[in-house]
Symmetry: C2
Subunit: 349 residues, 2 copies
């Protein structure tokens, strides 16, 4: 079968690989769509970062070369021994986490920060392929109304949903989202789905503002507007109940911290390549906080799929599909150049 294989930095090949075989407790999927994640770009242009190179990963026993892809949905084509409640033909999204199940983090209900965490598609052969094999515990069945295209978006939307929930905004409350990339869009959908009334999306790019405005969002251009003052005005001086940094740059962090109310959080859901100049005095003067957010849990997957089943998410204007053979030029390169926002790879094309 054909797959997108990562050999190292700037070295990805679309090539023939052996069909994966199903073991005990596993299922084989025919992949519908597989999204390209920001972390895939990091691996391609600056990696290997998460992909094991020297020692194999302790939970998967694998290192490069590997098939990429951890944002995918597909159809079950084979069921391994010992698997119940899953049948050939089931359509599923995959929560691609390998966790040890034994560390203090796993046993206290935080598998998303497992000390040995691994990802299907970074520490094992992933979903940018005609087929992939996953442990059954990774599966989430998709209701009829949720397409495989939408199903491939559950993973990034769950990243955003998990972060949105950490902001603890009550229904009817307010939030400021910094950055209108795929995670910023996911935050907007998640917060609206949680009943948060007033959400401002702060984004300097006119193209990105236009895209999220078409989905229904209210935006602010931080190059033209005093964002903390605008939010203070709109909230009668209370400021936002939460801010979200999905931009990962110092101006966003600084503006976010000036936009939240007393005892409120700024949730960080970005990959910060370097330490940022952070005005911690804002946290002290308002007893506010910065809260990190990583990945998701099964609960977040269930919540996102439930919202999708009710038609809450809309891919118009920000999601594009490409053929697997075009993954480098139309995927990695186009995303890196900012020409596209979210790309789903079709392994059949």
């Amino acid at each position: 079968m054909r797959a997108v294989v990562y050999n190292g930095r700037n070295d990805v090949s679309v090539t023939d690989v052996p069909e994966p075989e199903v073991g005990e407790g596993e299922v084989k999927l025919r992949v519908g769509y597989n999204g390209i994640c920001g972390s895939d770009l990091h691996e391609y242009f600056a990696g290997p970062i998460f992909i094991p190179q020297g020692d194999a990963h302790p939970l998967t026993g694998r290192k490069l070369p590997l098939t990429l892809g951890h944002e995918f949905a597909g159809t079950v084509t084979e069921v391994g021994p010992g698997v119940a409640d899953v049948a050939e033909g089931d359509r599923v999204a995959v929560m691609p986490l390998y966790t040890c199940g034994r560390c203090e983090r796993c046993t206290s209900g935080r598998p998303n920060v497992c000390t040995q965490i691994g990802f299907h598609g970074l520490m094992s052969d992933g979903g940018m392929a005609e087929s992939t094999v996953v442990p059954v515990h990774m599966l989430h069945k998709l209701p009829e109304q949720v397409s495989l295209e939408m199903g491939a978006l559950v993973e990034p939307m769950a990243v955003a949903y998990h972060a949105a929930a950490l902001g603890q905004v009550a229904p009817g409350g307010s939030a400021a989202v910094f950055g209108a990339g795929p995670i910023g869009i996911g935050l907007w959908f998640a917060l609206r789905g949680m009943g948060v009334d007033d959400v401002w999306v702060i984004e300097p790019s006119a193209t990105r503002r236009a895209a999220i405005e078409k989905l229904g969002a209210t935006t602010l251009d931080p190059t033209a507007v005093d964002v903390p003052a605008a939010i203070a005005d709109a909230t009668g001086g209370r400021r936002a109940d939460a801010a979200y940094d999905a931009a990962g740059v110092a101006p966003a962090v600084q503006t976010a911290l000036a936009s939240i109310g007393a005892a409120k959080p700024m949730v960080s859901v970005a990959i910060y390549e370097t330490p940022l100049e952070t005005p911690l005095i804002n946290l002290v003067m308002n007893e506010s906080r910065i809260q990190g957010s990583l990945c998701y849990t099964h609960e977040d997957y269930r919540a996102v799929i439930d919202l999708m089943s009710r038609g809450h998410y809309d891919t118009t204007g920000w999601v594009e599909k490409i053929a697997m053979g075009d993954v480098v030029a139309e995927g990695f390169e186009a995303l890196h150049a900012g020409q596209k926002m979210k790309v789903l790879v079709d392994p059949t094309a």
Copy 2:
């Protein structure tokens, strides 16, 4: 009477001022001792910062020149009209906050972050004087076992206690305190008072380490020890249940964030003069957080006074008393030069 009057930067005089008069709902105190706070040093060497210069403070109607001093305890010498439950001769510590009582922060139980907050001794005539007059709501009676010297330390110890509580460490847990100045010492006492078993105090100064070790603390020298590794070792890999930054410098923040476990806080209880290079990626990878802490509430005062009444706090080796006439040379200058840690001004000497 004599008082320490702040006229502006580098301009403090010990001079005669009129005796303050008691109004409705107020009491007059003969001051026992008044501590010099880090913020007093900031006002002296770099101010006016908090002390109003142009417009008078909205709650007190005052601006400079003002009598300094917001860390004090004294004896009631006169009771104004409408004051119940307080009598001449009562010994009291003072919680020196003026709050509006009307803003969303005050009405939601967070007067310590009132939008108009003022301090007795920064926005009104304070406790570095033979006498001072305060509203009755500021008073906390001192039990017989608590001296006026100890009572003057309630304010800074309440700053530390409030921060310690925000760390949410369970009894038997662990904590890392960065900085062994008066607030670091207060954090150590507060955490031990809350039943936290393992507290490491991280401090580069050998003098400060020696001082807090004499009180019973376990210290780490960050210039000689890999602090995150040492704490990971001591906690079986879980790392600390909370870290506290009472140093306010980037190396402390960076080491603190590497020393806490998943979903745990670093509490900031420092005045950061500039934004610091902060590795937010640590927060993301561990879903940990930075939590700001400001001032205290009446609850913190009650908790500290209760611990003091049981002999929990010890001033040996870090608290010195000076005569009011020596406040500049033996107080501000000596503290600024790092020759002393905590100075209590005796207005009678």
